[in-house]
Amino acid sequence: MLNKVMLGIALLVMLAIAAACAAPAAVQPTSAPPTSAPAAQATEAPAAQPTAAPAAGGVSELKILWAQWDPANYLQQMGNLYEQETGVKVTIVQEPWGTFGDRFFTAMAAGSAEWDGVIGDSQWIGTGATSGYYVDLTDFMNSTGIAKTVTPATLTYYGEYPTGSGKYWAYPTEGDADGWAYRKDLFEDPKEMEAFKAKYGYDLAVPKDYKQFKDIAEFFTRPDQGLYGVGIYTQKDYDALTMGIENTMFPYGGDWKDADNNVVGVVNSPQNVEAVQLYKELYDCCQAPGLSNAFFQETNDAFTGGKAAMIMNYFAFFPALTNPQTNPYAATTGFFPNPEGPNGDRGAALGGQGMSIISFISDERKQAMRDFISWFATEENQAKWAELGGYTCNSKVLETETFLKAQPYNPAFAETMTFVKDFWNIPEFGQLLQVSQTELSKFILEGQGTAQETMDSIATQHDKILKDAGYIKSQ
C-alpha cells in the first residue's frame, strides 16, 4: 500500500510538470483581462443575442448586479420607471450578501459579460479599476456634470480611485454609513432620567461623545431584566468586526494609514489603541448576549427582541426598525449619528456602493448603461430614488426638507455622511481585512493580549502586506 502513496506523489509531480508545460496556453485567456476582453466577448456574444434581440439596433435590456436587500428592490422600481420612459428594460440581479462578492469577482476573473453593471462595495473599487473590470467614467462624469451633483465625500469613497486622482469608476448610488438606533421609551422615561442624573450628574439624552455613550450603555445593562446597553458588530466572517471598531477608531482621531500609506505608528497609534480598548469594554460590560458573531441582522434582532437599548447598524438596515410589524418598539425608536471622540473629532464607518459599468460588454451596451446612469442621476430621479427609500448621494436632494423629514433616521444619516471614512480600497484589501478581523476577534471576543499588542500586531502584518504589494517602499 505504501507504493500507492508513492504512486500518488509521483503522479502529482508528473501533473506538475505537465501543467507547467501546458499552463501558458491554458492561462492566457484569463491572465490579462485587457487583452482577454475581446475573446470573452466573442464567446459571450451568441449567448447574449436572444435576450438582447434589439428593436432598433439598440439595447433592450440592462442587467445590473447588486446584493439581495430592500434598496435593490427600490432600484428595481426605478428601473421599471426607466422602462416605461425609454422601453429599455432594467433588471436588478440580486445575489445574497454573503456571496455577492464571491460571485462577482469569480465572474470578472473569467471576463464575464453576464451583467452590464454592478453596484459594488466601496472596498472593491481598487480591484475593479486596476484589473480592468470597471469602465473609466471620468470623462462621462465630468462632461455631463454628474460628478458635481453628488456630495464630495461620496464621490471620493464610492467613485474615485486611486483616492485623490480625480479618476472616477462609479456613480455614487447608495450612500451608507453606520449609525445608532436607540429606545426612546427608555431614554425619555422620567424615572430613568432621574436615576441617570442622580448617578452620573448630567441629563440622560442622546450621547454627545463616547464617554456619555459608555455611561448610558452601562446604565441600561440590567441582566436581571434581560436588558443590555448595546448591540455592536462582532462577526469574524468578512468585515463586520473591523467596520464596528472603525466607529470608535475614527472619532478617537485614529485611522488605518497616513497620507503616504504608512501604517506602523498609525494603526498602533495611542488613539487607535484607546478606541479598541473602549470597544472591548463595551463588549464586556454591555453587549446583549448572543451577539458574539453579530452583524446587521443580529443587532437588528437584538433591538426588536427588546434586548438592547442602543444598537449599531448601517442606515440601510434601519427601515426594518421603523416598521411596527417587525419592530414592536417602532413608535419609540430613535436614531443618532456616531458620537464624538474625546477631542471632539467625528467619524463613522462607511458602507454603501457606487454603480459601475462592466468593461467586458459591447460599446452599445456601455452607452446604454451611461444613458441609464445619466437618467438616474438627475435631481428629479434622485428625489424619487430617495422617496422610494434609496439613500441618495445627490447633494441637493440630501439638503431638501422633504428628504430630512421623510424618515426618522434621515437627519442622522445626512449628518453622518459629512464625516464618514473607509477602510482600504486597494486590491489587497481582503488580505488586510483578514489580519484585522483575526487579531481584533482574538482581543475583543477572547480577551487575548492587550489593545496595544493587538494593534501592534495588525500594524506589523499590514506593513508586510503593503510592502510586498509595493505600496510602501521597503528600506
Partner: protein
C-alpha cells in the same frame, strides 16, 4: 489493456472458440461500462486539477491584473512555515478526531439500539436519518438559532436557559471567555448531522451477521459482552472503518458548517484549515496561487490518511 481477461472465463473450461468470442465481447463490455465514467471524471477533473496545480507554483491573484509568476515551491514553503497555519491544522486535527470519534460511538450505539425488527422500525430509522438529509447550510443556520442565548432552545434544553449566561458559539460563560466551547459546539452539530450516516453503515453490517455465530456462542454460554467483543465488533468492523474513512475525508474538508456557525471565531478557535482556505481563495482575497498550494497540501494529507485506512481495512477484510 491488452491482457484483459474475464475472471469467469478463466474458471470455465468451455470450448476455446466460444471462450475467445466471449473474451472479446467481455473486453468490449468492460470498455463500454468503464469508459463513460472515466471520461466524465477525467474531463471534469483534468483542467481544474492541472490548472490549480500549476497555479500553486505561482504568485497569482485571480482578480489581479498580472499573469501568474512562477515562484517554484515558495507558496508551499510559506504555508509550511506559517505558525498560524499550523494552529489551523491543529484545530482541524482536534475537530476531525473528536467529531469522527463521537460519530462512531453515537452511530454505533444507535445501530445497536435499533438493530432487529420492531413495529415502526423502518419509520424510526428513516427519521433518525433526517439530519444527514439536510443541506449543511441549513444546518449551520438552524443551529446558530438553536445556540442563541436569547431565543434559542439549546440553553433551555441543557438547563442553562434562565441565566442567559452560556453563549456556546462565543465560547463564553457570563463574562468569562472559555477556550474550546465554540469548537465543541461545532463538533456537536457535526456529530448530530452525521452520526446517522455511521449508524446506517453499521446497521447494514449488523444485518448481515449470520445467526449461527450467535447460536454457537449461546450454546457455549458466552456472555453478551463476549458476543459483542468476539462476534459483533469484528463482523461490523470493515463497514465501520469505511464510515470512518468517508467521515474523515469530509471532516478534513468541511467549512460550510463552521462558516455558518462561527465564521472561524471567536479569535481563531474554530478556524479550520478548510475555512482558512475558503478565506484566502475567496472573500475579497482571491489569492489563487497561495490557496491552490494549500489545497494540494490538504489533498496530500487526505490521500495519506485514506491510504492508511484502506490498508487497515484490507487487513481486517483479509482476516475476516
Amino acid at each position: 489493456m491488452a491482457s484483459i481477461t474475464a475472471d469467469s472465463s478463466v474458471n470455465n473450461p468451455i470450448s476455446s472458440g466460444r471462450a475467445v468470442a466471449r473474451q472479446l465481447s467481455d473486453r468490449a463490455i468492460m470498455n463500454l461500462f468503464i469508459w463513460p465514467t472515466l471520461v466524465l471524471l477525467i474531463a471534469f477533473n483534468f483542467f481544474p486539477l492541472f490548472y490549480s496545480l500549476f497555479l500553486s507554483f505561482t504568485n497569482y491573484r485571480a482578480t489581479g491584473n498580472t499573469a501568474p509568476v512562477w515562484i517554484g515551491i515558495e507558496n508551499y514553503a510559506t504555508i509550511l512555515t506559517d505558525p498560524s497555519l499550523w494552529e489551523a491544522f491543529t484545530t482541524t486535527g482536534r475537530y476531525v478526531l473528536f467529531s469522527v470519534a463521537l460519530q462512531t460511538v453515537v452511530g454505533f450505539g444507535l445501530a445497536m439500539l435499533i438493530r432487529g425488527k420492531f413495529r415502526g422500525s423502518g419509520l424510526v430509522t428513516t427519521l433518525i436519518l433526517v439530519p444527514m438529509m439536510l443541506s449543511p447550510v441549513v444546518v449551520g443556520l438552524f443551529w446558530k438559532m438553536m445556540y442563541n442565548p436569547n431565543f434559542g432552545y439549546f440553553n433551555y434544553l441543557v438547563g442553562m436557559g434562565e441565566s442567559g449566561q452560556l453563549d456556546m458559539l462565543a465560547s463564553r460563560f457570563g463574562n468569562q471567555a472559555i477556550q474550546g466551547i465554540a469548537l465543541a459546539s461545532v463538533i456537536l452539530v457535526d456529530v448530530w448531522m452525521w452520526s446517522p450516516f455511521v449508524m446506517l453503515l453499521v446497521l447494514s453490517g449488523l444485518n448481515a451477521i449470520p445467526d449461527y455465530l450467535y447460536e454457537a456462542a449461546a450454546i457455549d454460554r458466552a456472555s453478551s459482552w463476549f458476543q459483542f467483543w468476539h462476534i459483533t465488533l469484528p463482523q461490523v468492523m470493515p463497514l465501520l472503518l469505511i464510515a470512518v474513512l468517508f467521515r474523515t475525508i469530509e471532516a478534513l474538508k468541511s467549512f460550510d458548517l463552521v462558516m455558518g456557525l462561527t465564521g472561524g471565531g471567536p479569535g481563531n478557535q474554530t478556524e479550520l484549515i478548510a475555512v482558512y482556505l475558503y478565506r484566502v481563495a475567496f472573500l475579497g482575497q482571491f489569492r489563487s496561487g497561495y490557496s491552490s498550494a494549500l489545497a494540494y497540501i490538504i489533498l496530500i494529507i487526505v490521500i495519506a490518511i485514506s491510504n492508511l485506512y484502506i490498508r487497515n481495512l484490507n487487513k481486517i477484510k483479509g482476516e475476516g
